[in-house]
């Protein structure tokens, strides 16, 4: 399956051979084929973040210009992490290679490469662990499944640890809950110790560290984006909303992934947030410093995750808000739900979130003090606080893509569905093996969403696209709704490739479309500027 042309065709990509190769996997081998890997980190970004061994190198080069004691650094790093993470030690020790995880990985399904079976991806590290950290491996070596850490092994790590989107689907099926995300997160940490990282992660992290967001948007640019959105919303609804930035004393700090105010189709959901908060009169503010909820640090190292996440609580404290609401984003919510309080808490300067409209106290966030906007909105709808006209979304036949992290690291499954059923009339689920905790990744998560990696992303996104195609063909679905910024950035291209005719949107885009605001003008268009159902004629006249 070599791809000579620049843009592969779907029929070429689905010619997948699942027969493992002759060559034993223990014999390290990796081919950096264009379209299947990511470029190295920009030295400037590394320098800004104070990362070690800053240099110019590329994966395709023979010499990666590693420091002379690279092996020692990595093995010491591994030892340290085995002592620091029970997860790692357990996951290194107890895998029985039952193979249940093998065909659960979207990269394996889409590529047929045996080293993309989660079990084997982990074995790439596990074999080194056995060789250097277990008695049997030290004595018996290869007979005990041990492998010497060599440069080819290191290159294999790089290739395959960046062919995992840390979506955790394998972990759902593993009888011991072995989580490949944990293994690749730590594997990437080890690589970063010797200055091996990818630019799509390191540069956004550097941007975020400096300006407050991954895109590197500076404070005035952020303010402009918000004001621009307010103007757009006024054009559509006739209502002037007045969002504030860095305003002290607001009740709520609202944090969104930066793509929400810059990306398409994220932006339409951003309009939805503004409309919703205005309508219920929420006393909230944005922060131009904490202008990023996403966290590419998660894809770099635990340390970087903590460094980038710190600003959220710091800003909540400085601005004196009572609690925090977070927008639609997948891995952002993994960090907020499972790491933030531990890393940068306790948030004892905040109050347990309480909806000012319904009085609902969000006990599920009583320590972290941050709630997901889907939880907030579902509560509003349940208490009938919103006037909704789902017919305005009648042009869409909708399916919902559970984003990996809200599904498998939170269990935020019903809230978005409840909202959807209230804001649209045509909602169809994808097959059960492809939704909820079994959802398939977009194939571009965890910092892999680059153009240079396009073929691998299309392969990794194939299982998701395949399920969308099912509802597209059977129910005429034409809109894939999701609650993740990376989904919104990458699924449109994936759909164009695999399932033309399906566009991608956010949950709060539909909420905003359906929301009947007090004093609004008669709306002709939805947030995308396309005519609402029944308004097509009027536009053409």
């Amino acid at each position: 399956m070599t791809m000579s042309k620049k843009h592969p065709k779907p029929e070429e990509l689905v010619a997948i051979d699942y027969q493992p190769r002759r060559r034993d996997w223990m014999d390290p081998h990796v081919e950096f084929r264009k379209g299947t890997f990511n470029y190295s980190a920009n030295p400037k970004s590394m320098e800004y973040l104070g990362l070690p061994f800053v240099r110019k190198w590329q994966p395709t080069e023979d010499d990666w210009k590693l420091p002379p004691n690279w092996k020692e650094i990595i093995l010491n790093g591994l030892r340290e992490r085995i002592d620091r993470f029970r997860s790692l030690r357990i996951f290194m020790d107890i895998c029985v290679r039952c193979g249940a995880c093998a065909d659960k990985c979207h990269f394996y399904i889409g590529s047929g490469d045996p080293k993309n079976m989660p079990v084997l991806r982990a074995e790439l590290l596990r074999s080194v662990y056995r060789k250097d950290f277990t008695t049997a491996g030290k004595i018996l070596g290869k007979l005990a499944g041990g492998r010497e850490l060599t440069i080819p092994v290191l290159k294999e790590w790089f290739y395959y640890f960046y062919q995992c989107t840390e979506c955790r689907r394998c972990s759902v099926f593993c009888p011991y809950g072995i989580d490949t995300a944990e293994i690749t997160i730590i594997g990437r940490e080890l690589l970063n110790l010797v200055g091996i990282g990818i630019d799509w992660i390191t540069t956004p992290a550097a941007n975020c560290f400096r300006t407050g967001n991954h895109l590197g948007i500076q404070p005035h640019g952020f303010k402009d984006s918000v004001d621009f959105a307010a103007d757009d919303l006024e054009d559509i609804t006739g209502i002037k909303v007045n969002p504030s930035v860095n305003r002290k004393g607001a009740e709520v700090l609202f944090v969104v992934p930066s793509a929400d105010y810059f990306g398409d189709p994220h932006y339409f959901g951003f309009l939805g947030y503004l409309a919703l908060f205005h309508e219920i009169g929420l006393d909230y503010t944005f922060s131009a410093f904490a202008s990023e909820g996403g966290n590419f640090g998660l894809f770099h190292s635990h340390e970087m995750m903590k460094r980038l996440n710190a600003k959220i609580y710091a800003e909540a404290k400085r601005l004196g808000v009572k609690y925090i609401i977070g927008g639609e984003c997948g891995h952002m919510w993994r960090v907020l739900h499972q790491y933030m309080d531990t890393m940068n808490g306790p948030a004892d300067f905040l109050e347990v979130p309480k909806s000012p409209v319904t009085g609902t106290v969000f006990e599920n966030a009583r320590s972290t003090k941050m709630i997901h906007i889907a939880e907030f909105t579902a509560d509003l709808i349940k208490h009938r606080k919103l006037k909704l006209d789902p017919h305005r979304n009648d042009n869409h036949r909708i399916t919902f893509h559970d984003s990996c992290n809200p599904a498998r690291a939170m269990g935020l499954l019903e809230e978005p569905r409840y909202i959807l059923k209230n804001v649209c009339n045509h909602f169809y689920e994808m097959p059960e093996n492809t939704i909820r905790e079994q959802t398939f990744c977009c194939g571009s998560g965890s910092g892999l969403g680059t153009d240079e990696n396009l073929e691998m992303r299309l392969r990794g996104g194939f299982p998701r696209a395949n399920a969308v195609r099912y509802v597209h063909e059977n129910h005429g679905v034409n809109l894939l709704v999701c609650i993740c910024a990376i989904d919104k950035a990458t699924l449109p291209g994936l759909m164009d490739f695999w399932v033309p005719g399906v566009s991608v949107g956010g949950l709060h885009e539909l909420v905003g479309n359906a929301l009947v605001m007090k004093g609004e003008k008669e709306r002709d268009n939805d947030f995308r500027g396309t005519p609402l159902p029944g308004k097509e004629e009027k536009v053409h006249v």
């Binding site: 996997w25 997860s87 009888p175 404070p219 410093f289 939170m410 395949n466």
Partner: protein, 330 residues
Amino acid sequence: MKILYSLLAVSISIAFAWVGTASGGLHYLFGVVFPAVAVFLFLFGIVYRVVRWARSPVPFHITTTCGQQKSLDWIKSSPLDNPSSTLGVIGRMALEVFFFRSLFRNTKMELKNGGKLVYGSAKYLWLAGLVFHWSFLIIVLRHFRFFLEPTPVFVGVLQNLDGFFQVGVPVLFMSDILILGALSFLFFRRIVTPQLRYISLISDYFPLLLIIAIAATGVLMRYFLKTDLVAVKQLMLGLFSVSPIVPEAISPLFYIHLFLVSVLLAYFPASKLVHMAGIFLSPTRNLSNNSRMKRHINPWNAPVKVHTYEEWEDEFRELIKGAGIPLEKE
């Protein structure tokens, strides 16, 4: 090759015990010394492994959630697949340990012509795994009739249940048939499925073949080549009361069986078989999904270099001012 090595290791073990007891006269070595050493290695090894695991902290709360979270009152949560309480976690772990809940989800992906993916039910691995583990447990418990005098009541109950169909003399135990069937399935599955053969190591084939050999020698002794059970019980009681005696009349087949069990016990803690203990400590399964309700503490929560608001304001002061965003310092 890997299968061959494993087969060789098991064969050598059998030959060793056979030669040693049939013509070597090493009954004391195989009947007392090896089993005692093996039991010690097993206990010490398991404790060592568990202590080592337990000494590595759980820095982050990384539950894998497999159902609806507990959030709003009116949304039904999944207390077992996404537990928010300790009781829920106990339930989740019980389902995992006793019924292999996660493996029950297993599916098989197929790529159909025309590039369509379909996912079929694939319960055989779950079924064979469950049958093997339960049969193994029942067989181990049944063996307590050799270890304790008087024979505990539960052994009698188990024997009656296990021999429920009253077939043959001595009564055929279902667990004997089931364990051999399940193990054979698990073994051939590894060989027949190309992907599985590709990932399998010696340490995957060896324990399977070893346990097959243990079960086979046990079945041989019970149904075909009878051994002197009174003598066997004498030996085992002696072992367990730490006053070993080696009766004369026991056949080499028994010593082969006992030696294979000794190998299994000694090998156990150093192998993947420690999943038996490890599953209880797996952080994606044994933590409740309450990380926003209750702060999880990381004992080594290391300080990191952060970018402070003040530094940010200093760098962008003019731009912030120009945009009309409030400043801390004018």
